[in-house]
Amino acid sequence: MAHPLVSEVEKLVQSNDVVIYMKGSPDFPMCGFSSRACAVLKAAGVEKIASFDVLSDDDMWTALEDFTQWPTVPQIFVKGKFIGGCDIVGEMFERGELQDLLK
């Protein structure tokens, strides 16, 4: 049985082009990886980043990990699809894959 809050995660990621679940927020990141992921997204030309601070809601954090089956944060979604964490987003940016996805 999926976590009851998974539907909340789905709603947020379906209603925004770029969503990041992170520690803190893009303007006040509370962890190096989260901060770096936001910087990469901005470098790739993303102006509007919808974000959710997992530190503010443990239940949502659990639902997120249940939904993506990915153990760490930050977690980044583009057009409703989970694309990975900080390392993957950085690597995709270097290969130009992130920019293609954002078109």
Binding site: W70, F82, I88, R95
Partner: protein, 84 residues
């Protein structure tokens, strides 16, 4: 887990998989791996990495593998990457 064991485990993805492993700390639990495999064709990077993590689920859960940094490519992507 030794580098040979890790290499053999990832090789299970596909006979034509290229696997290079690097022990980052000499303690056999912080690994950096390069994996090039035809099974990655058409898959997002996160799916490619999930396939590797799936092969190592027991060692990751038991913390025998503590850190795993992965660079994954399809054969075509790797040619392009090396061609740079």
């Amino acid at each position: 887990m030794t580098s040979e064991q890790l290499q053999a485990r990832i090789q299970q993805l596909h006979p034509e998989t290229l696997v290079e492993v690097n022990d980052l700390t000499g303690t056999q639990d912080h690994w950096q791996v390069l994996v090039v495999s035809p099974v990655f064709d058409g898959k997002m990077m996160v799916e490619q990495q999930r396939m590797i993590m799936g092969l190592l689920k027991a060692e990751i859960d038991s913390n025998e593998v503590h850190a795993l940094s992965m660079k994954t490519f399809t054969p075509e992507q790797y040619k392009k990457f090396k061609g740079k």
